[in-house]
């Protein structure tokens, strides 16, 4: 393990802790703790927005998804950025005018309702927790390759650092950590993309000469009595399994056992193609590609282009494009004659062994570079419905995330809130454009771990040398620190300000509120550590999707209607938050994605789509309107009486 990642990581943490203690001396009172005194400059706040928003799911998740499913992963970038339009044009300034520390303040500004205070605080906590878990799991995932430490150590370390950041100076230190991290993330992602353009694309990527390109073997075969038998005479047929429309064949050669997938060559002849395998045997052995798993026996990194723009591959050296400009880079991938080798996974039981097979599939460039591989836009109406639902949740989710909304209270005026949102749109938009290059770069450079896509961007950086890998990994770690800090400030504000002070009315002084806020930050930090350890191995982008759907369903209808519909009543807001949370979580729990996680057949799920937004967002809006019309406020009644 190299010393450089440790040096960069320790240096970053030292700077972060120095900032925290420096601002701790200056932070006084709840205004300072929860809203950084409203004194942050709009340009700093804008980059801090980027630091807050570009979480592990954005950096690791989107790049990884593009590397696996192409343009479908970029849909998240488009949707996440479009959400800022709702934030800027609809929410930013009014929210700043109405609120104090939390988004509950803005919702409740016209009502002073105990129900809104309680429900909005609960919604903040639910969304924050859904967001916290994947960040903490991501910290554990990163710390193992970066510092060589176990998962739980990474989670505890992040928890301890974040508690220190938040408990010392609250929003002020959190803002500068996010500013630092947002800036570094954008700078180093740009460097990574430039390195990618200079290297260009090769059909036999060798990671700059560091890792030789591995040629997967193809065997000629014939079908005899429905068994696929290799014809070279060197491999012996052992067994065959048909699984979900694919045929896998188990062969042996000189005591080595391997799995192959049945395929056909361009002439229609039957062939067997080499795959990678992980096998957990019934007697407890763990084999990778037929050999016991060790540090030297791991899954091979994958991903490459087979053909570039219709050029025939040279048998020995392949094709290299040389340096490319960004447009030409994308043009290579978009060409209909470009052929990309992606890798898919499937698992099955065989004679008591649990076999996971990673097999190559060939995809043309034109197919890769448009939606359709993950989201079936050419599929059934219900599959299309799922796609629309996702795009809707992404569009409306951003403007309803509590940890994003509280950042509007750290600047002086509504105009500053607007300007900081524009800086956020510029910086986040630029980063999201880079995600397409980084994801495709990882796909073409033979750096992907076929078992998990989350590390695609750091692994791409590693192919350019230790420094870039260390810097990108340290920033990825900082990504977690920045986002978790923001989430803990939001949750701490919900507990101290919304629940204890406004709902409970038990806090007598400003000092008490800050004290409760710090205790809450400590407690939530501990809960985050525990959840990060318990949920080890869970897909990091999954719960972020939940958080967006719940936020868009529970919070956005309430915010929009309070701002723009003067017949909105407190009961309408309360009902809408309850219906939003319950319907979004309920639909997720009975979705095909969750059935797969329960180990059940996804086809038997009561609903055929996994993104609840298209149902739960309108449902929440309708509930608010219906309940508000049925329960007119005293103010509205007085107006009617007066006009009569």
């Amino acid at each position: 393990m190299s010393i450089m990642p440790i040096v960069l990581f320790v240096a970053f943490v030292a700077v972060v802790l120095y900032l925290s203690f420096y601002f701790a001396k200056k932070t006084q009172g709840s205004k300072g703790y929860f809203a950084a005194g409203g004194e942050i400059h709009w340009s700093v706040n804008g980059i801090a927005f980027a630091g807050d928003y570009l979480s592990a799911a954005s950096f690791l998740g989107i790049c990884g998804m593009i590397a696996v499913v192409g343009f479908d992963g970029f849909l998240y970038s488009i949707g996440y950025l479009a959400g800022w339009i709702v934030a800027l044009f609809v929410v930013a300034e009014p929210l700043k005018r109405l609120g104090k520390y939390t988004f509950t303040d803005a919702l409740d500004s016209k009502f002073n309702s105990k129900g809104i205070q309680l429900l909005a605080a609960i919604s903040t906590l639910v969304v924050s927790l859904c967001y916290l878990i994947p960040q903490m799991v991501g910290a554990g995932v990163l710390v193992t390759p970066l510092l060589g430490l176990p998962h739980y150590v990474g989670v505890i370390m992040v928890g301890a650092i974040v508690i220190t950041i938040v408990a010392t100076a609250g929003m002020a230190s959190t803002t500068y950590v996010q500013f630092l991290k947002g800036g570094l993330l954008i700078i180093f992602s740009t460097v990574l993309c430039l390195a990618l353009f200079i290297r260009g694309i090769s059909t036999k990527p060798a990671q700059g000469g560091k890792v030789p390109f591995y040629e997967y073997a193809t065997l000629e075969a014939k079908t005899v009595d429905q068994q696929v038998i290799p014809t070279n005479g060197k491999h012996a047929f052992l067994d065959q399994i048909d699984h979900r429309g694919l045929t896998f064949v188990k062969l042996s050669k000189e005591s080595n056992v391997s799995w192959w997938i049945k395929n056909t060559d361009p002439n229609g002849a039957v062939v067997l193609k080499e795959v990678q395998t992980e096998v957990k045997t019934s007697n407890g052995k763990y084999l990778i590609n037929g050999k016991p798993a060790t540090n030297n026996s791991q899954l091979r990194q994958v991903g490459n282009l087979i053909k570039i723009g219709g050029e025939e591959e040279d048998a020995s050296s392949g094709i290299s494009t040389g340096s490319l400009n960004p447009f030409k880079f994308l043009a290579v991938f978009s060409h209909k004659d470009t052929l990309v080798q992606r890798w898919k996974k499937t698992s099955f039981k065989h004679n008591g062994d649990h076999v996971s097979v990673y097999y190559p599939v060939e995809t043309t460039g034109n197919r890769l570079m448009r939606p359709g591989i993950k989201f079936k836009v050419e599929g059934t109406p219900l599959q299309k419905f799922d796609f629309v639902s996702l795009m809707l949740a992404l569009f409306f989710g951003t403007a309803a995330l509590p940890h994003i909304l509280i950042r509007y209270y750290t600047v002086k005026t509504p105009a500053c809130a607007r300007k900081s949102t524009i800086v956020a749109i510029a910086s986040i938009g630029f980063f999201y454009i880079l995600t397409l290059f980084m994801g495709l770069g990882a796909l073409a450079n033979g750096v992907l771990n076929p078992a998990t896509s989350n590390m695609s961007a750091p692994l791409l950086a590693r192919s350019f040398g230790t420094f870039l890998f260390s810097a990108i990994s340290a920033i990825a770690f900082a990504t977690v620190l920045g986002t978790v800090s923001g989430l803990i400030v939001a949750a701490s504000g919900a507990i101290a300000h919304d629940l204890f002070d406004r709902f409970g009315g038990v806090l007598q002084s400003d000092k008490q509120k800050v004290f409760v806020g710090k205790i809450a930050a400590f407690a939530i930090g501990i809960i985050a550590i525990i959840l990060g350890i318990v949920f080890k191995g869970m897909n990091v982008s999954f719960l972020v999707g939940w958080a967006f759907a719940i936020a868009a369903s529970a919070n956005l209808p309430a915010i929009v209607m309070v701002l723009f519909w003067n017949k909105t009543t407190s009961r309408g807001v309360v009902a809408s938050i309850i219906v939003g949370i319950v319907s979004a979580i309920g639909l997720i729990l009975i979705s095909p994605s969750m059935y797969l996680r329960y180990g059940l057949d996804p086809a038997t799920a009561p609903i055929p789509f996994s993104n609840p937004g298209i149902i739960s967002i309108p449902l929440s809006f309708i509930t608010l309107v219906a309940v508000s019309l049925l329960t007119p406020s005293k103010r509205a009644k007085n107006n009617i009486a007066a006009s009569a």
């Binding site: 488009i78 479009a82 300034e93 994308l330 043009a331 209270y409 524009i422």
Partner: protein
């Protein structure tokens, strides 16, 4: 505890104008965003048509949505700043009378 904005910024006489402009721009962007979704649903193969510098409709439209968001944001800021200057700056109000 008092419940008021964390920083008092005085009355904003341009807020009605800004809200109106914001809603119009939101609708414009939402329509362009909806166009992207609708093309994908109704004519997915159109998305792979090469239209600019070797890039296809999906990429150009996707990048376009990101850049368009920034352009609209800058126009909105410019319009709002002018209006704020006109209504909220005491010097301008005096001059206008």
């Amino acid at each position: 505890m008092l419940h008021e904005p964390s920083v008092s910024s005085g009355p904003d006489h341009a807020s009605g104008y800004k809200t109106r402009v914001g809603m119009y721009m939101f609708i414009v962007y939402a329509l362009v965003y909806a166009g992207f979704v609708i093309i994908n649903l109704c004519s997915p193969l159109l998305m792979e048509k090469i239209i600019l510098f070797g890039m296809n409709v999906a990429t150009v439209y996707g990048f376009g949505l990101i850049v368009f968001a920034l352009i609209l944001a800058l126009i909105y800021n410019n319009m709002c700043a002018k209006e704020e200057d006109k209504y909220n700056n005491p010097m301008n109000q005096k001059g206008g009378q």
